[in-house]
């Protein structure tokens, strides 16, 4: 508003116009937009190219028939042939089913276990006010360490798991070799690693609830169990949503864990998931276009997972 008035006023003589342009240029260089550019511009460029550029390129490749190293992809002839193939491929069906089981079982058990641990710890903190970070330590381990460590735990002959259940006269079970057990074994290892994280998220939520909520419930006659069940846990909605999203994302990028555990692109059949199938199709068989279409399916699943979260955030006015 002010600058346009300046422009009108300065239009009288040429000298004024030049000076006015200089002043505007100076204002532009000094503006918050330009001066803050290095801070948001560089991340934006990196994100844009590496993430979103990569996604777009991947989708483009999935529409071609590109495979092998001999020729360049033919972008002239795009169709959905790869998706048609993928949707009728029994390997895709099996891995999609495994991915889904892993996603649901891992996420829900981690949430419940994390909530349970958080409530226990919350009692302790409210009464004695000390925090135990020990539960968070598994989260600090890398996937590779957890995988190796649980591989030993599950060892058929002298793993700790078989030794312990052997004391009760059970087993030994071939946790890794048996296709019907291996998925459960993997899920259990993941739960071990992640329920500490869920617990911390819930604990933060619990700690933000003030003591007089507990006192009010207590004066009203609620037992400790009823207080948590009817008053406190319903207030943890946003903690649950954000913890669930993080867990589901990790469930979808399970490739690292499986690769670290089995040292090959082909994990035992019972635990083969979309991510490993995708890597196998790409880097073992060089079927680039086909694996790109699997990647897109995986991306769509991730988006499906995040969509409710985004909707929730939007409805709460946080977006």
């Amino acid at each position: 508003m002010e600058s346009s008035q300046d422009a009108v006023a300065g239009a009288g003589t040429g000298e004024h116009a030049v000076e006015d342009r200089r002043a505007r240029l100076r204002r532009f260089w000094k503006s918050d937009f330009v001066r803050s550019a290095p801070y948001w511009g560089i991340p934006l460029l990196l994100m844009g190219l590496a993430v979103y550029g990569g996604i777009i390129w991947n989708i483009l490749i999935s529409l071609t028939d590109y495979q092998g190293f001999l020729e360049r992809p033919d972008y002239g002839n795009l169709d959905l042939e790869m998706y048609r193939q993928a949707l009728s491929d029994s390997a895709v069906h099996l891995t999609a089913r495994n991915t889904f089981v892993l996603l649901v079982a891992f996420t829900s058990v981690s949430l419940v276990l994390g909530l349970f641990l958080a409530v226990l710890l919350d009692r302790d903190i409210r009464e004695k006010s000390k925090v135990q970070t020990i539960y968070l330590l598994p989260m600090a381990l890398s996937f590779v360490v957890t995988a190796q460590f649980w591989l030993w735990m599950y060892n058929y002959n002298d793993g700790l798991v078989n030794t312990v259940i052997g004391l009760f006269g059970l087993g030994p079970y071939n946790w890794i070799g048996n296709p019907s057990l291996v998925l459960g074994a993997v899920i259990f290892a993941l739960i071990w690693q992640f329920s500490g994280y869920t617990m911390v998220v819930f604990l933060a939520g619990l700690q933000s609830i003030s003591n007089d909520q507990f006192e009010a419930a207590r004066v009203d006659g609620a037992s400790i169990f009823k207080t948590y069940w009817r008053v406190i846990i319903p207030q943890l909605k946003s903690s649950s949503v954000s913890a669930a999203v993080v867990l589901m994302i990790f469930a979808l990028k399970i490739f690292t864990f499986l690769y670290a555990m089995f040292g090959t692109y082909r994990p035992p059949k019972g635990t083969d998931v979309l991510a490993t199938l995708m890597v196998r199709e790409a880097f073992q068989l060089q079927k680039w276009a086909y694996s790109a279409s699997i990647a897109t399916i995986l991306l769509a699943m991730s988006l499906l997972v995040i969509a409710p979260y985004l909707y929730y955030q939007y409805r709460e006015g946080a977006l």
Binding site: D212, E215, G221, A222, Q235
Partner: protein, 375 residues
């Protein structure tokens, strides 16, 4: 309705003693306020009555029944919290009826009681609102309704108005008094605000440092404070104090002397003593006939004027070179309240008197009151 008795109650948190040897009788149907500065032990006292904390020693009786070992829900109490503590995920109806639903009252009875409570606190038509959609005052009324539906013998209110803005607080003050009249229940009220204590209570229990200082009707605490703490805590602005000693023929201090017969009021000459005079008992010399028994003239000059609308707080220095301290009113300063029409200016020299009939004398060592009139 029930009386409440604290019998030698002591509460310690580790080495920290919050309340020591408290004996307090709250009568049936009484509105009693526990008042004192932050950390004085008034909230701990209330939590002990509520059963939210166990006394280290001593017993609590409600309606003649020893409830020391009973949980809060079996004590016949209901509580209103400072932070209101409504359950944010429940609507008004669910909040109010929560306690009744837990106790498995039948639906009809619950609805009847909730309707009645909502009517008392004027919440009709808001039953399906969520707490976040309500104003502070409305939420506070929901919290009170939540306490009413339980039909408790004793209401406990822990600073229920502290988080409201000033205007609403004054409005809720009168509301609470009407509520007390209507319900005719024992109410125990905790506040650090002596104005709330003065205006609402039948009796005030002044607490400092975990010890009960005085339990009396508000005006008794104001006119005849038992000790220096009560004298300085009750009344706003606070009393003027002069630290000196009892002499053979009265009271002597650096800035203020007063003649009387020590024997007559039971004071011992030579003992350190403190003279206390309320700001409204000091008059300009020309208004001296307003004092029941005017003192001798005191020369001073005006330091600061604080016009409040209905009165002007006038800070006097009794000598030119008196040092003023940021800590509060010190020796050699005198506060009086004047009519706003008074033509007086900062820096002006004035002569004032005070009403000897309203002067208080305290023993400086024990802090106990010696006399409430030095006429």
């Amino acid at each position: 309705m029930a009386s409440v008795t604290l019998d030698n109650v002591t509460k310690a948190y580790g080495d920290e003693i919050a309340v020591e040897d408290m004996n307090l009788e709250i009568r049936d149907g009484e509105f009693l306020t526990l008042v004192g500065p932050s950390g004085c032990g008034k909230s701990t006292t209330m939590e002990t009555i509520a059963g939210l904390t166990q006394p280290t020693e001593g017993s609590v009786y409600i309606g003649g029944r020893d409830v020391t070992d009973l949980p809060p829900k079996d004590r016949g109490i209901a509580m209103v919290f400072q932070n209101i503590a409504l359950f944010p995920h429940m609507d008004v109806y669910d909040n109010i009826s929560f306690g009744l639903r837990l106790r498995k009252y039948d639906q009809e009875e619950i609805e009847k009681r909730v309707d009645r409570a909502a009517e008392i606190v004027q919440l009709g038509g808001m039953m399906d609102r969520m707490p976040e959609e309500m104003s502070g005052g409305q939420r506070q009324r929901v919290a009170i309704a939540r306490a009413i539906v339980r039909q408790p013998d004793v209401f406990l209110m822990d600073e229920p108005l502290a988080n409201l803005d000033a205007e609403l607080r004054i409005h809720m003050r009168t509301q609470l008094q009407r509520l007390h009249r209507e319900l005719d229940t024992t109410i125990i009220y905790v506040t650090h605000d002596q104005a709330q204590a003065m205006t609402m209570s039948d009796r005030v229990a002044v607490i400092d440092n975990g010890h009960l200082q005085q339990v009396d009707p508000p005006l008794t605490c104001y006119n005849a404070p038992d000790n220096l703490f009560v004298a300085s805590f009750i009344g706003s602005p606070a009393m003027n104090f002069f630290h000196g000693a009892v002499t053979d023929d009265g009271f002597g201090s650096e800035f203020m002397n007063l003649g009387f017969d020590p024997e007559e009021i039971g004071a011992t000459p030579g003992k350190d003593a403190t003279l206390g005079i309320r700001p409204e008992d000091v008059y300009l010399k020309r208004d001296r006939e307003e004092a029941t028994v005017p003192s001798e003239t005191i020369k001073a000059h005006v330091d600061v004027l604080e016009p409040m609308g209905d009165e002007v707080f006038t800070y006097l220095l009794l000598e030119e070179d008196v040092e003023t301290s940021a800590e509060g009113r010190g020796e050699g300063q005198l506060l009086l309240s004047l009519d706003p029409q008074t033509d007086i200016e900062e820096g002006q020299k004035v002569e004032v008197v005070f009403d000897r009939h309203e002067a208080h004398l305290f023993d400086s060592a024990s802090e106990e009151a010696i006399a409430h009139s030095l006429a």
